[in-house]
């Protein structure tokens, strides 16, 4: 790849064309642009988004250490054996204080260095004001338009924006490890709500089958389980895997394919709109912040934040004042 030059639109077009032609370096640069929300990224997405939609976007979330990365590695092996190409976006949290992040998911996904059918990208969550879902689905769109058959999105299932990432996928897998106690406590209601498929991993551990049975019972009441409501709502399948040995992984892949095949026909219009809303909302919040930080309003924004910090005013009043200032800026 030669470093593209020119206007952002020209550079974006060159990178997008190269990525689609199989240039992995160009693909990696585009992903960086998407992460950094640059002008190039915006232009490239304008080109690539309409070309995306062919890949199956699978969100994989669950508590820390449940085995998400190990399961992703097992899925990669299964997909490659079937001749399908796979991209991975593995999100880890950024420290809100230093901005640093330790991205360790690749450790479990080794052995694909010489396989062009696998591309693994780690991403720090960077405390994007609600924009993490937008960033990671944009990254998925870049992979999608570059010809990958399936995109696996790994995020830790703690924190609203991380769960939103998985929920914005076509198929959302919620992973759980066997519970040692009597109750299945670790799965928060919010996490189960977004699940299309629930996986109890570490099937080699005692209690895995029992945890799965408890989850099936929890999810059983007809009419209220599953995403959306009405006759199309369907309760999530509960599967057991042992990611370390690969046991249960073919069945999981089959379940993913089934869910994909049922596809958008079965997702209610409301669910589809909710996913789109999650994507747009993030961008919207970010754009608003950017405008508030721009020269014309930065002073007012700073003053408002200062006032809230000093408890001179409350966050609601400050937000209303800033929205009003934005409105005035608009009409000038």
């Amino acid at each position: 790849m030669t470093e593209p030059v020119g206007t952002p639109a020209e550079r974006a077009a060159a990178l997008a064309a190269a990525a689609r032609a199989g240039d992995r370096r160009a693909l990696a640069r585009l992903l960086t642009a998407v992460e950094n929300h640059t002008a190039v990224a915006e232009q490239a997405l304008r080109v690539l988004y309409p070309l995306a939609g062919g890949a199956h976007l699978v969100g994989i979330t669950g508590p820390p250490g449940a085995g998400k990365s190990t399961l992703v590695a097992a899925l990669i092996a299964e997909l490659r054996a079937a001749g399908r190409t796979v991209a991975v976006v593995a999100v880890d949290p950024s420290s809100p204080i230093t901005g640093g992040a330790l991205l360790g998911d690749r450790v479990r996904m080794q052995s694909y260095a010489s396989d062009d059918g696998v591309f693994i990208r780690s991403m720090a969550s960077r405390g994007h004001a609600g924009g993490l879902a937008a960033t990671s689905t944009s990254a998925a769109a870049v992979f999608d338009a570059s010809g990958f058959d399936i995109v696996l999105l790994e995020t830790v299932g703690t924190g609203q924006s991380e769960v939103e990432v998985a929920a914005a996928a076509d198929t959302t897998v919620v992973l759980e490890a066997p519970e040692m106690g009597d109750e299945v406590q670790a799965i928060k209601a919010g996490l189960l709500e977004v699940a299309d498929i629930v996986v109890v991993n570490k099937g080699d551990r005692p209690g895995a089958q029992r945890t799965a049975a408890q989850l099936r019972a929890m999810l059983a009441p007809p009419g209220e389980a599953g995403r959306g409501s009405g006759p199309a709502a369907r309760r999530p399948e509960v599967l057991v895997t042992t990611a370390m040995s690969g046991e249960g992984v073919p069945a999981l892949l089959a379940a993913l394919d089934r869910h994909r095949a049922r596809g958008s026909g079965e997702a209610t219009p409301a669910a589809r709109r909710a996913r789109a809303a999650a994507q747009v909302r993030g961008v919207l919040v970010e754009r608003l912040w950017a405008r508030l930080a721009a020269p014309g309003l930065a002073g007012a924004t700073d003053a408002a934040l200062e006032a809230v910090a000093r408890h001179d005013t409350d966050p609601y009043a400050a937000a209303d004042a800033l929205l009003a200032a934005l409105g005035r800026e608009e009409t000038r």
Binding site: R24, A28, R29, T98, L102, L103, R106, A113, R121
Partner: protein, 135 residues
């Protein structure tokens, strides 16, 4: 966003069997505000370069205790250049004999860090020398 964090790959090439030092460095650099991709033990040059390419890192930091640095590290530098990533900053930590330092520099290693180096020093070096690229 111009103040985005530097992205660093910490890799452990060769066959030596423990990565405590590399993990300490990875965590330390995270605390210095870097985005650190950690890849684990027993990395071949090809694995390191593929990870660097896919992750689009600004820095590749290797840690070697096995003494195999003279064979592994130049190969990483070579393959980085071959794949269009000659501008990525390469550093090496470990027990590196003085005589090896010049040839390593000639091969493309920007910084060689011996056992007494603090994480702050490594971080400062990376911040001063890496060139984060805008896409």
């Amino acid at each position: 966003m111009t103040d985005r964090p530097l992205k660093v790959l910490i890799a452990k090439p060769g066959l030596d069997g423990h990565d405590r030092g590399a993990k300490v460095l990875a965590r330390g650099l995270r605390d210095e505000g870097f985005e650190v991709v950690y890849t684990g033990l027993r990395q071949t040059p090809e694995m390191i370069v593929t990870a660097a390419l896919q992750e689009d890192v600004d820095v590749v930091g290797m840690s070697i205790l096995s003494g195999a640095h003279m064979t592994l590290v130049p190969r990483v530098c070579e393959q980085l250049r071959a794949r269009g990533m000659g501008d990525v900053l390469v550093t090496l930590g470990g027990i590196i004999p003085d005589d090896d330092i010049e040839p390593l520099r000639a091969a493309g290693v920007a910084g060689v860090f011996g056992p007494g180096t603090t994480i702050r020093e490594v971080a400062d070096f990376m911040r001063a020398r890496a060139t984060p690229r805008e896409a």
